[in-house]
Every structure is written in C-alpha cells, then in structure tokens.
Subunit: 197 residues, 2 copies
C-alpha cells in the first residue's frame, strides 16, 4: 500500500469511531483471508488508518487478534440455578465455540505467538487476567447461592476452569463428552480427598 | 552438510546405539546453540546420522525436542507421606525446573509449534498423554493410602494438575508462592462446594 491511500487523522485527537472501524476491518479481514492473510498492513488499508495509529492502540498483531476474538465470543454465563450446571454449561459453550468456529484456531495462534513474542505475551497475560475476572462471576454467583465454601478466592477458582479449557484447546481435545465433563467438574466441586469419617 | 559426511547405516537394521547418539547430539546442540540454533540438519551432522534416519524415529523436530526435554527432566514423585504435600512438591519442582532451566522455553516452544504443525501436534498429544499416565502415579499412591474418594479416575485427576501447570507456563506465571499454591491445591483436594450440613 502507499501512504496516500491512508486517511490521515486531523491533529492529535483520536477519532472515537476509528477504533471501531479498525476492529470492523480486522474482523472482516480475518473472516475473508483467515489467519495467514491477517496483517496489520491490510487492516490499516481497509480501515483507512495509519499503521502507527493501530500500533498506538494495540501493541501487537496478537493484541488486535485478541480483541477481535473477544468481540466474536458471545458466550453468556447461563444461569441454570446451580453451580455445577453453570460450570458445565460454560465449559461446553466455550469448547463448542472453539471447535466449531475459527475462534479456536485464532486463540491457539495467539497463545503460540505469545510464547516467543514479548508483546504478544503481555497482551495474552492481560487478556487472560480479564477473562479470569469475568469467569469469577460464575463463582461469585455460587457464593451468593451459598453453594461455595468460605475462603475460596473466586479468581483462583476461575483459574482452574481456564486451565482446564486451555489444556483441552492446546492438545486438540475439544470433543468432550458430557459424561467426562461432568466427572471432571465434580472433581472441582467435591475435591479428590475422601471425606473423613 | 554434504552427503559424504554422513555415516550410512549398513543395511536396514537399526543400530541400537544410534538413537542414543542422536539424543546426545540433540541435547548438546540445544545446550550450545539454544532453540534458535536447533536444527535437524545439525543434529544429523553431529550424530553422523542421516536426516531420514532421524525422521524415521522422530516425526518432527518437536518430537525430538520433547525427547530431549523429557530426558533432562529429573523430577521424582517425592513421597511426603500425604497427597497434599506430594502434589505441592510436584508442582513446585516442575515450576522451578521450567523457570530456572532452559526446559521451560523448550516446552513452550513445542506447545507453540504444535498449534500450527500437525506432526508437532501429534507428538505433543502423545507426550502429554504419557505425562498424564505418569502423574497418575501421585493419585494412585493417594488411593493406596486411602486418601482419595472412590470413583476418581487417576488420569482425569492428573489432567487437572497438568492443566494448572500449562496455564502457568504459557502465561509466564511461574513465580508461585507456596501460600498461593497451597490454596490452589486445597481447592483440588477439598473442592469448591460447601459441605452440606
């Protein structure tokens, strides 16, 4: 691309619509060309933005991909009325989303990139920390219902759930039967240890 | 390298020492040149083996790296006399090994490679499945001691431990305080759910 195809922002003020335009362009590009065709250059061209503008708001391609990924993730924390079913529903929804849409490949690629690129690593850490806070909501709802032990830290509990999901994603093990999933979730709820008599 | 620097194996019989020689060469190369300098070509040259021989026994660079990684991992399943301390000791040993030796970077790189390379993915799946069987030993010992609930599947329990470790490795979060680790392990042992009165 050449410089004159870019629309220069007038002055230093950030155009509030620009970030949305960039995310729209990124989302469309990803849908059309896939991960291999996803470049900041092409996002910039489509959004009529300068690359420096994009890099001012997103530190790396991985950071931009994470925002697109999160934008497309429309997974609610279903309220089934009890903690066990809430967790099963959440894990089921994420594994299906990863398995049946390009989201799984996108997230895997970001995790991979984060292992050798420091900026991608920072973006992933920030992102996963935000997700832990979000997933904590499941635990907080269980606390409100009186289902959860005193002294449990919601974010620590959420980390077990995220870890479980990442391991399945990264080993390509997303066809989880409901029976196996319930067995795994019951370990998290009841623990490994035998109750003392 | 040129073909004539390779020592050709005589006939189709596999030289039993060759696999060891290749692993030795791979280990030395990794120590000397790091991940960036680690190539099958150079391993072949140093081991005086043909590349086809290496690829006959290891499907990919990732598979060879995993064998080298595992060979250097001298982590025993310490018998502390109880399950909680056994698990804490195991997680502590692995996180320190990953943090303080090149092993962490090697394993991260293999997981990353496995996200876009199918052969690396297969090697990682086989490897992690073997590790789950190995880590199950901790759970089996707890079962023998009568510490664990009936109906717990050792490999499923081990998967929670591996998942926890991978998540910490991949988010660069290996400085785990003993206090936080004990809190996390107690969730796995006691579960999230409040005991019914």
């Amino acid at each position: 691309m050449t410089e004159n195809t870019q629309r220069r922002s007038i002055g230093a003020k950030r155009n509030p619509a620009s970030a949305e335009a960039i995310l729209d362009a990124a989302e469309n590009l990803l849908a059309e060309r896939g991960l291999r065709g996803f470049t900041i250059e092409e996002v910039a061209r489509r959004a009529r933005a300068g690359k420096p503008t994009i890099y001012k708001w997103w530190s790396s391609k991985a950071a931009l991909l994470l925002d697109v990924y999160q934008r497309q993730k429309t997974i609610a924390f279903q309220d089934t009325g009890n903690l066990e079913d809430d967790i099963v529903a959440f894990i089921t929804a994420i594994t299906i989303h990863w398995r049946d849409t390009p989201a799984g490949a996108v997230f895997r690629s970001v995790i991979a990139e984060a292992q050798s690129d420091e900026k991608a690593g920072q973006a992933l850490r920030r992102f996963s920390d935000e997700r832990l806070s979000e997933t904590s909501f499941l635990i907080l709802r269980g606390l409100e219902r009186g289902e959860i032990k005193n002294g449990i830290f919601p974010k620590h509990a959420a980390r077990w759930i995220s870890s479980y999901l990442w391991f399945r994603l990264l080993t390509g093990d997303l066809d989880v039967s409901q029976q196996n999933l319930r067995r795994d979730v019951s370990v998290l709820l009841l623990g490994l240890r035998k109750d003392e008599k």
